[in-house]
Symmetry: C2
């Protein structure tokens, strides 16, 4: 089905468009009353992730409510470790938790990978197919995956962490096992993303949420090559790479065979453009906390950011929208971009 | 009393020294068996902070055990909010927690500040006097404070946080109240640090631990001016400013009237030297997780870092040493620097 609004895809491919597209990371979530109402009826977050028609419903909610230029499939980056054999739980108000974690090569040998792992995520592909059908071409649908390093960090650490020191220790003390795990993750992610594209994803985003915890040297050894491998393997759809906190390898990220680079809110447009050039398509990067401020300020800061990037931008926040953000602030952000 | 080892002070003042001085942030703590033995006998962390002869004892432990070139007084940055009227607790394995937090100007009006607040921290000054006496000139003694923004972030958020979104929301929605609180904090910190110097501190370090959570614009409005005010008010001892994650304002930090800039492990020596020049004295910045790796690797990475900074460096980690770091790794780091 032809897209009625293909601003996101044209911008991602480097075309000059009538205005920049806009969407928000975590737009399908607690900021929406519709989401909270549905979520309240369910046993948990995973029920929502694993039930295709419900995942599709919450994916479409922000299109109806906010009229953003893209939908992003409601899911979780940790479905990949689970499909590989490492079950996870989501503890309310605490975040993800893995009852078993990776300690050594022996644990890694036990994990399935590639097509054998990806085939277990049929519920994700079904959610994409339903969403695609129900969107009926209104906006493009984004599929996503965690980056190999970010997924490894949870599989070794077992939960979120301020320092991810266990995961980093694993890289320093068992580098061969780390590379073996990153290989298995990459192989799985490649099949998973191809399946997502087959099921309807128009663009792929790779989230390297814990990029910023690594030293530049570790990032170049344990993260970049695997993102590169994934980007190189996928030519069926444009790709956005969002490596949060990875300002220190911005030039190296710029060399990836991907279409768009996501930026966090610490990165000024000037710093980014100096390193990336004026033709690199970027995504981001308003401080999500600006949406708490008065509407006049949201409008001013949004326009200022767009102006300073000087085009070739998919407008977004520099991080996922925070759950308690006022809906008025979110709408002001979206409407400001749409008025350009 | 004259110092037998004044490498730290001479380096901080910009002198060329026979080798770089070395110490570790959080060197007085769980990495040492002596610390764990003492801590096990006490009711809690705060008992240790608030009992001068015990705080002095753990301050000196790493001098005995590791033979580092500086002692840093064992204390906590949150003694300042408490002295101003906001009591805190330290919950085991969870971190700091404030039963009451700052919501508005009314809450800020109730806080005491300046000398009236600083006078309540007599137990800290007494710990410094005892330490100074017991050190008997072996190495310089560092006193420290949290930066105003970092202290505000805890006072508003009420605890640690991945996003500090409440604290940032406060800046965006109540900027005048935020500035009033930052003023009160700065006034208190200035008196507090002068008292610490009077009690024996030879050098002062200001920790802006949550610098990296702010946007460049917010950092310039809500943090930098207050650190500048503190630096300008103190000329009795050299000052180190460590703004963790503040790579995006490195040039602005370089303009502060302070002696040393601390750097985190994301910052390569090349990035730092390009922005700071070759004459700025820096402190840092080995990735703390390197100390988990084999000794040969610790040695190599430490020497490589020192070499790349090219002098004018107080060698340290890019963050506090993690509690489960092997003592052998810590000693290898220290001994490597001392062999230069």
């Amino acid at each position: 089905m032809e897209l009625k609004n293909d601003l996101l895809l044209r911008t991602a491919k480097g075309e000059i468009t009538e205005r920049p597209p806009v969407w928000l990371m975590r737009q399908a979530g607690r900021i929406l009353p519709q989401y909270r109402a549905l979520r309240g009826k369910l046993s948990g977050f995973k029920e929502l992730v694993e039930t295709p028609h419900l995942a599709a419903e919450v994916t479409i909610q922000p299109i109806d409510e906010l009229d953003v230029d893209a939908a992003i499939i409601f899911s979780d980056i940790l479905v990949i470790p689970e499909a590989m054999g490492l079950e996870y739980q989501l503890i309310e108000k605490k975040g993800p938790w893995f009852p078993e974690t990776i300690h050594s090569m022996k644990d890694i040998d036990k994990l399935v990978s590639g097509a054998e792992a990806a085939v277990q995520l049929e519920y994700v592909y079904e959610a994409l197919r339903i969403t695609k059908r129900e969107l009926a071409g209104r906006v493009p649908l984004i599929g996503f995956s965690g980056a190999p390093w970010t997924l490894l960090s949870y599989m070794v650490e077992g939960s979120g962490s301020k320092t991810f020191s266990k995961a980093k220790k694993f890289l320093y003390t068992q580098p061969e096992a780390a590379h073996a795990l990153l290989d298995k993750l990459s192989d799985t992610i490649i099949v998973y993303l191809k399946n997502k594209i087959n099921a309807g994803a128009d663009l792929i985003q790779i989230f390297d949420s814990w990029a910023g915890i690594l030293s530049p040297e570790q990032y170049k050894e344990f993260s970049l090559p695997y993102i590169r491998k994934i980007c190189a393997a996928i030519d069926e759809a444009p790709i956005t790479v969002f490596a949060k906190g990875a300002w220190f390898v911005l030039e190296e990220l710029n060399d990836l065979p991907c279409n768009v680079l996501g930026l966090d809110w610490n990165t000024t447009p000037e710093f980014a453009r100096e390193r990336l050039g004026k033709d690199r398509v970027v995504q981001g990067n308003l401080d999500p906390c600006i949406l708490y401020s008065p509407l006049e300020n949201i409008k001013e800061k949004t326009l200022d950011m767009v102006n300073r990037f000087g085009g070739k931008q998919i407008v977004n926040l520099g991080h996922g929208v925070y759950p308690d953000t006022p809906l008025d602030g979110v709408k002001c952000f979206v409407d400001t971009v749409k008025s350009i």
